[in-house]
Amino acid sequence: MFALQFSSLSEFLHMGGVYTFHIWAVYLLFAVFISYNLLQPKMVRRHFLREQKRRAARDEELASKTNTQK
Protein backbone atom coordinates (compact mmCIF):
# COMPACT_ATOMS: atom_id res chain seq x y z
CA MET A 1 0.00 0.00 0.00
CA PHE A 2 2.89 2.38 0.70
CA ALA A 3 5.17 1.60 -2.21
CA LEU A 4 6.55 4.53 -4.20
CA GLN A 5 5.04 4.68 -7.67
CA PHE A 6 8.08 6.10 -9.42
CA SER A 7 11.59 4.72 -9.55
CA SER A 8 13.38 7.93 -10.59
CA LEU A 9 12.96 11.68 -10.44
CA SER A 10 12.59 12.00 -14.20
CA GLU A 11 9.89 9.35 -14.20
CA PHE A 12 8.11 11.26 -11.44
CA LEU A 13 8.31 14.56 -13.33
CA HIS A 14 7.14 12.82 -16.46
CA MET A 15 3.93 11.56 -14.75
CA GLY A 16 3.22 8.80 -17.25
CA GLY A 17 3.82 11.14 -20.17
CA VAL A 18 0.32 11.65 -21.60
CA TYR A 19 -1.00 14.30 -19.20
CA THR A 20 2.20 15.65 -17.69
CA PHE A 21 1.15 19.23 -18.34
CA HIS A 22 -2.34 18.81 -16.86
CA ILE A 23 -1.13 17.29 -13.61
CA TRP A 24 1.67 19.76 -13.00
CA ALA A 25 -0.50 22.71 -14.03
CA VAL A 26 -2.98 21.81 -11.27
CA TYR A 27 -0.23 21.51 -8.65
CA LEU A 28 1.33 24.77 -9.83
CA LEU A 29 -1.99 26.63 -9.57
CA PHE A 30 -2.41 25.19 -6.07
CA ALA A 31 1.03 26.45 -5.06
CA VAL A 32 0.24 29.92 -6.41
CA PHE A 33 -3.10 29.90 -4.58
CA ILE A 34 -1.55 28.90 -1.23
CA SER A 35 1.34 31.36 -1.44
CA TYR A 36 -0.80 34.30 -2.57
CA ASN A 37 -3.35 33.82 0.19
CA LEU A 38 -0.66 33.60 2.86
CA LEU A 39 1.58 36.39 1.57
CA GLN A 40 -1.08 38.94 0.60
CA PRO A 41 -2.38 39.40 4.19
CA LYS A 42 1.20 39.70 5.42
CA MET A 43 1.88 42.49 2.91
CA VAL A 44 -1.34 44.27 3.90
CA ARG A 45 -0.37 44.00 7.55
CA ARG A 46 3.11 45.36 6.96
CA HIS A 47 1.70 48.24 4.91
CA PHE A 48 -0.81 49.03 7.66
CA LEU A 49 1.85 49.01 10.42
CA ARG A 50 4.19 51.25 8.39
CA GLU A 51 1.38 53.67 7.66
CA GLN A 52 0.30 53.83 11.31
CA LYS A 53 3.87 54.29 12.53
CA ARG A 54 4.36 57.16 10.09
CA ARG A 55 1.12 58.72 11.27
CA ALA A 56 2.10 58.33 14.94
CA ALA A 57 5.51 59.89 14.29
CA ARG A 58 3.90 62.81 12.47
CA ASP A 59 1.41 63.39 15.28
CA GLU A 60 4.20 63.34 17.84
CA GLU A 61 6.24 65.83 15.83
CA LEU A 62 3.24 68.11 15.53
CA ALA A 63 2.59 67.88 19.25
CA SER A 64 6.18 68.75 20.16
CA LYS A 65 6.12 71.76 17.80
CA THR A 66 2.97 73.15 19.39
CA ASN A 67 4.53 72.59 22.82
CA THR A 68 7.65 74.60 21.98
CA GLN A 69 5.52 77.42 20.60
CA LYS A 70 3.86 77.73 24.00
Binding site: A3, Q5, L29, F33, R46, K53
Partner: protein, 249 residues
Protein backbone atom coordinates in the same frame (compact mmCIF):
# COMPACT_ATOMS: atom_id res chain seq x y z
CA UNK B 1 -22.03 30.80 27.66
CA UNK B 2 -23.33 34.28 26.86
CA UNK B 3 -20.26 35.87 28.33
CA UNK B 4 -18.17 33.72 26.01
CA UNK B 5 -20.35 34.75 23.07
CA UNK B 6 -20.03 38.43 23.91
CA UNK B 7 -16.28 38.06 24.36
CA UNK B 8 -15.90 36.32 21.02
CA UNK B 9 -17.64 39.29 19.48
CA UNK B 10 -14.90 41.56 20.72
CA UNK B 11 -12.38 42.09 17.91
CA UNK B 12 -9.56 42.71 20.34
CA UNK B 13 -10.21 39.46 22.19
CA UNK B 14 -10.24 37.55 18.91
CA UNK B 15 -7.05 39.25 17.77
CA UNK B 16 -5.17 38.31 20.93
CA UNK B 17 -6.51 34.77 20.97
CA UNK B 18 -5.59 34.21 17.31
CA UNK B 19 -2.02 35.22 18.18
CA UNK B 20 -1.88 32.01 20.19
CA UNK B 21 -3.66 29.90 17.57
CA UNK B 22 -1.65 30.86 14.51
CA UNK B 23 1.66 29.05 15.30
CA UNK B 24 -0.24 25.81 15.94
CA UNK B 25 -2.24 26.20 12.77
CA UNK B 26 0.91 26.83 10.73
CA UNK B 27 2.58 23.73 12.15
CA UNK B 28 -0.43 21.49 11.57
CA UNK B 29 -0.85 22.83 8.03
CA UNK B 30 2.80 22.13 7.27
CA UNK B 31 2.61 18.59 8.62
CA UNK B 32 -0.71 17.71 6.98
CA UNK B 33 0.22 19.33 3.67
CA UNK B 34 3.60 17.54 3.51
CA UNK B 35 2.08 14.15 4.26
CA UNK B 36 -0.85 14.76 1.92
CA UNK B 37 1.19 16.01 -1.03
CA UNK B 38 3.83 13.31 -0.67
CA UNK B 39 1.16 10.63 -0.49
CA UNK B 40 -0.91 12.02 -3.34
CA UNK B 41 2.02 12.56 -5.69
CA UNK B 42 4.20 9.56 -4.96
CA UNK B 43 2.30 6.76 -3.27
CA UNK B 44 -1.26 6.68 -4.60
CA UNK B 45 -1.36 4.03 -7.35
CA UNK B 46 -2.40 4.85 -10.89
CA UNK B 47 -6.14 4.68 -11.49
CA UNK B 48 -7.18 1.90 -13.86
CA UNK B 49 -9.18 4.40 -15.95
CA UNK B 50 -7.48 7.73 -15.36
CA UNK B 51 -3.87 6.71 -14.94
CA UNK B 52 -1.73 9.38 -13.28
CA UNK B 53 -4.36 12.11 -13.59
CA UNK B 54 -6.01 10.64 -10.47
CA UNK B 55 -3.50 12.91 -8.69
CA UNK B 56 -5.48 15.97 -9.80
CA UNK B 57 -8.27 14.78 -7.49
CA UNK B 58 -6.16 15.48 -4.39
CA UNK B 59 -6.19 19.18 -5.22
CA UNK B 60 -9.55 19.58 -6.95
CA UNK B 61 -11.75 17.79 -4.40
CA UNK B 62 -10.44 19.53 -1.24
CA UNK B 63 -10.53 22.95 -2.90
CA UNK B 64 -14.00 22.45 -4.37
CA UNK B 65 -15.52 21.05 -1.18
CA UNK B 66 -14.13 23.86 0.96
CA UNK B 67 -15.32 26.44 -1.58
CA UNK B 68 -18.81 25.18 -0.71
CA UNK B 69 -18.16 25.85 2.99
CA UNK B 70 -17.25 29.50 2.38
CA UNK B 71 -20.68 30.68 1.35
CA UNK B 72 -22.60 29.17 4.31
CA UNK B 73 -19.95 30.64 6.61
CA UNK B 74 -20.50 34.05 5.05
CA UNK B 75 -24.27 33.62 5.40
CA UNK B 76 -23.98 32.67 9.10
CA UNK B 77 -21.67 35.63 9.73
CA UNK B 78 -24.16 37.83 7.87
CA UNK B 79 -27.04 36.57 10.02
CA UNK B 80 -25.07 37.31 13.20
CA UNK B 81 -24.31 40.78 11.84
CA UNK B 82 -27.98 41.46 11.14
CA UNK B 83 -29.37 40.00 14.38
CA UNK B 84 -26.76 40.86 17.02
CA UNK B 85 -24.84 43.59 15.18
CA UNK B 86 -21.62 41.86 16.18
CA UNK B 87 -18.71 43.74 14.64
CA UNK B 88 -16.44 40.74 14.41
CA UNK B 89 -19.00 38.77 12.39
CA UNK B 90 -19.02 41.41 9.68
CA UNK B 91 -15.22 41.43 9.60
CA UNK B 92 -15.27 37.66 9.09
CA UNK B 93 -17.93 37.99 6.39
CA UNK B 94 -15.81 40.58 4.62
CA UNK B 95 -12.64 38.47 4.89
CA UNK B 96 -14.20 35.22 3.69
CA UNK B 97 -15.52 36.68 0.41
CA UNK B 98 -12.18 37.01 -1.45
CA UNK B 99 -11.00 33.68 -0.06
CA UNK B 100 -14.22 32.06 -1.26
CA UNK B 101 -13.72 33.61 -4.69
CA UNK B 102 -10.19 32.18 -4.80
CA UNK B 103 -11.36 28.72 -3.73
CA UNK B 104 -14.19 28.71 -6.26
CA UNK B 105 -11.96 30.02 -9.03
CA UNK B 106 -9.34 27.37 -8.34
CA UNK B 107 -12.01 24.64 -8.18
CA UNK B 108 -13.25 25.76 -11.62
CA UNK B 109 -9.73 25.98 -13.06
CA UNK B 110 -8.52 22.62 -11.76
CA UNK B 111 -11.85 21.09 -12.79
CA UNK B 112 -11.39 22.44 -16.32
CA UNK B 113 -7.88 21.00 -16.53
CA UNK B 114 -9.11 17.66 -15.27
CA UNK B 115 -12.15 17.77 -17.56
CA UNK B 116 -9.94 18.35 -20.57
CA UNK B 117 -8.36 15.01 -19.79
CA UNK B 118 -11.31 12.84 -18.69
CA UNK B 119 -14.16 14.40 -20.65
CA UNK B 120 -12.22 15.77 -23.59
CA UNK B 121 -13.56 19.27 -22.95
CA UNK B 122 -12.50 22.17 -20.72
CA UNK B 123 -16.01 23.37 -20.10
CA UNK B 124 -19.59 22.18 -20.40
CA UNK B 125 -22.81 23.92 -19.36
CA UNK B 126 -23.50 21.12 -16.96
CA UNK B 127 -25.48 21.69 -13.75
CA UNK B 128 -22.51 21.25 -11.40
CA UNK B 129 -20.17 23.46 -13.39
CA UNK B 130 -22.73 26.17 -14.05
CA UNK B 131 -23.90 26.37 -10.43
CA UNK B 132 -20.30 26.62 -9.26
CA UNK B 133 -19.67 29.39 -11.79
CA UNK B 134 -22.69 31.22 -10.33
CA UNK B 135 -21.14 30.88 -6.88
CA UNK B 136 -17.95 32.47 -8.25
CA UNK B 137 -19.96 35.42 -9.58
CA UNK B 138 -21.84 35.71 -6.27
CA UNK B 139 -18.55 36.07 -4.40
CA UNK B 140 -17.42 38.72 -6.87
CA UNK B 141 -20.83 40.36 -6.41
CA UNK B 142 -20.49 40.46 -2.62
CA UNK B 143 -17.02 42.01 -2.90
CA UNK B 144 -18.22 44.58 -5.44
CA UNK B 145 -21.31 45.40 -3.39
CA UNK B 146 -19.23 46.19 -0.32
CA UNK B 147 -16.89 48.47 -2.20
CA UNK B 148 -19.83 50.20 -3.91
CA UNK B 149 -21.50 51.35 -0.66
CA UNK B 150 -19.77 54.14 1.24
CA UNK B 151 -21.39 53.68 4.64
CA UNK B 152 -19.77 50.66 6.38
CA UNK B 153 -22.97 49.83 8.29
CA UNK B 154 -25.13 49.89 5.18
CA UNK B 155 -22.52 47.85 3.28
CA UNK B 156 -22.44 45.28 6.09
CA UNK B 157 -26.23 44.90 6.00
CA UNK B 158 -26.42 44.69 2.20
CA UNK B 159 -23.64 42.09 2.02
CA UNK B 160 -25.25 40.08 4.81
CA UNK B 161 -28.53 39.96 2.90
CA UNK B 162 -26.81 38.98 -0.35
CA UNK B 163 -24.82 36.27 1.48
CA UNK B 164 -27.97 34.81 3.04
CA UNK B 165 -29.93 34.87 -0.23
CA UNK B 166 -26.97 33.58 -2.24
CA UNK B 167 -26.52 30.61 0.11
CA UNK B 168 -29.51 28.98 -1.63
CA UNK B 169 -27.05 28.13 -4.39
CA UNK B 170 -24.94 25.92 -2.12
CA UNK B 171 -27.36 22.95 -1.85
CA UNK B 172 -27.96 23.32 -5.59
CA UNK B 173 -24.24 22.88 -6.25
CA UNK B 174 -23.97 20.06 -3.72
CA UNK B 175 -26.89 18.00 -5.04
CA UNK B 176 -26.68 19.01 -8.71
CA UNK B 177 -24.89 15.75 -9.47
CA UNK B 178 -27.76 13.74 -7.97
CA UNK B 179 -30.70 15.82 -9.22
CA UNK B 180 -29.66 16.12 -12.83
CA UNK B 181 -27.73 14.00 -15.25
CA UNK B 182 -24.42 15.74 -15.27
CA UNK B 183 -21.13 15.18 -16.99
CA UNK B 184 -19.63 15.67 -13.54
CA UNK B 185 -19.62 12.43 -11.58
CA UNK B 186 -21.53 12.11 -8.28
CA UNK B 187 -19.58 11.95 -5.04
CA UNK B 188 -17.98 8.56 -4.40
CA UNK B 189 -18.67 6.57 -1.27
CA UNK B 190 -15.74 5.85 0.99
CA UNK B 191 -15.28 2.14 1.45
CA UNK B 192 -13.13 0.14 3.86
CA UNK B 193 -13.01 -2.71 1.36
CA UNK B 194 -9.56 -2.83 -0.30
CA UNK B 195 -10.98 -4.12 -3.59
CA UNK B 196 -13.88 -1.62 -3.78
CA UNK B 197 -13.77 1.02 -6.56
CA UNK B 198 -12.80 3.57 -3.94
CA UNK B 199 -10.52 1.75 -1.46
CA UNK B 200 -8.80 3.36 1.58
CA UNK B 201 -5.52 3.75 -0.31
CA UNK B 202 -7.34 6.29 -2.49
CA UNK B 203 -9.48 8.17 0.03
CA UNK B 204 -7.27 8.27 3.12
CA UNK B 205 -4.75 10.60 1.42
CA UNK B 206 -7.74 12.58 0.16
CA UNK B 207 -8.93 13.07 3.75
CA UNK B 208 -5.42 14.19 4.72
CA UNK B 209 -5.45 16.76 1.89
CA UNK B 210 -8.96 17.94 2.83
CA UNK B 211 -7.84 18.54 6.43
CA UNK B 212 -4.68 20.29 5.24
CA UNK B 213 -6.67 22.63 3.01
CA UNK B 214 -9.18 23.26 5.82
CA UNK B 215 -6.36 24.34 8.12
CA UNK B 216 -5.00 26.53 5.32
CA UNK B 217 -8.47 28.07 4.93
CA UNK B 218 -8.59 28.82 8.67
CA UNK B 219 -5.16 30.51 8.51
CA UNK B 220 -6.05 32.59 5.45
CA UNK B 221 -9.33 33.67 7.05
CA UNK B 222 -7.73 34.53 10.39
CA UNK B 223 -4.94 36.55 8.72
CA UNK B 224 -7.41 38.61 6.70
CA UNK B 225 -9.76 39.07 9.65
CA UNK B 226 -6.87 40.30 11.82
CA UNK B 227 -5.97 42.89 9.19
CA UNK B 228 -9.59 43.98 9.07
CA UNK B 229 -9.66 44.29 12.88
CA UNK B 230 -6.53 46.45 12.89
CA UNK B 231 -7.86 48.63 10.08
CA UNK B 232 -11.26 49.24 11.66
CA UNK B 233 -9.97 49.65 15.23
CA UNK B 234 -6.91 51.70 14.28
CA UNK B 235 -8.02 54.62 16.46
CA UNK B 236 -8.48 52.58 19.61
CA UNK B 237 -5.76 52.58 22.23
CA UNK B 238 -4.91 48.87 22.05
CA UNK B 239 -4.12 49.08 18.31
CA UNK B 240 -2.05 52.26 18.85
CA UNK B 241 -0.10 50.39 21.55
CA UNK B 242 0.28 47.37 19.30
CA UNK B 243 1.64 49.50 16.46
CA UNK B 244 4.10 51.12 18.87
CA UNK B 245 5.28 47.70 20.07
CA UNK B 246 5.94 46.41 16.54
CA UNK B 247 9.56 46.83 15.54
CA UNK B 248 11.11 46.50 12.07
CA UNK B 249 8.13 46.82 9.77
Amino acid sequence: MWLWFAKLGSPRWFYELSDKWLPWLYVSMLILMSIGLFWALLIVPEDYQQGQTIRIMYIHVPVASISLACFPLMAVAGTITLVWKMKLADMVAQSVAPIGAWFTGLALATGAIWGDQIWGTWWAWDARLTSLLIQFFLFIGVIALRSAIDSPDAAAKACAVLAIVGAINVPIIKYSVDWWNTLHQPASNFSMDPVAPNPPEVWVPLLVMISAVYVFFAIALILRTRNEILQRERRSQWVIDLVAREKNV
